[in-house]
Symmetry: C2
Subunit: 124 residues, 2 copies
């Protein structure tokens, strides 16, 4: 058992034009370092932004705290609050903003899907 931290104090500020007023606290190594998938907690300060960017693989965006807006390819703003999640599929353009601050878990990986309450049977 190995303890570590993803607290705000442990988070770093990535050099990334697509992130404005955002800190990142990874839970896993990045896929670029041969992790089979990646998970990290992104904290958007008030007025901050993630994106616009294009999902390269399936992504779950799960709001842990606060609220904000996520905009997909259709340009429609969707208000998201703690307990809301969004599944993005590869190729989807998206952007997330928050006027008041937002903490979000982002999980990415090949073969990722969202949970569905009543899954259909696998194809024979």
């Amino acid at each position: 058992m190995e303890q570590f931290t993803f607290s705000p104090e442990a988070a770093f500020v990535p050099r990334d034009d697509k992130l404005d007023r955002v800190t990142v606290a990874p839970l896993t190594p990045p896929i670029s370092e041969r992790s089979p998938f990646q998970a990290a907690v992104f904290r958007i300060a008030p007025g901050g932004r993630i994106g616009p960017s294009t999902a390269t693989m399936p992504q779950i965006f799960a709001v842990l705290e606060g609220q904000g807006d996520v905009t997909g390819e259709d340009g429609v703003n969707t208000r998201i609050v703690a307990g809301d999640a969004v599944l993005l599929t590869p190729g989807e353009d998206h952007e997330a903003t928050s006027a008041s601050g937002l903490t979000v878990l982002i999980i990415e990986g090949d073969g990722l899907d969202r949970f569905r309450q009543h899954p259909t049977s696998p194809a024979a």
Copy 2:
């Protein structure tokens, strides 16, 4: 872009002897349904418990809210609070309890590791 929820209202109470006063809100399908990895938010009510159980694959246990204690094979209690995470390796016995309530993200999957601030170079 597909919206869904992992709010307390959407969580279910699993039939599982190893869970006492715990609800589960999955983010992904379970590995048993051919998901390459699984992630879910477990909410332990005050006095509740996860385990004791044995990790069958690497597992990250990341505390989102509240506090509790996790006990590994050595029987030592470790106090964990929001922002703390624990990596469990396959075969490790563990148990988590909370007197006051705890919300934890559990991610499991083959090849899962924890993030390390200064990763060593991959072996040549």
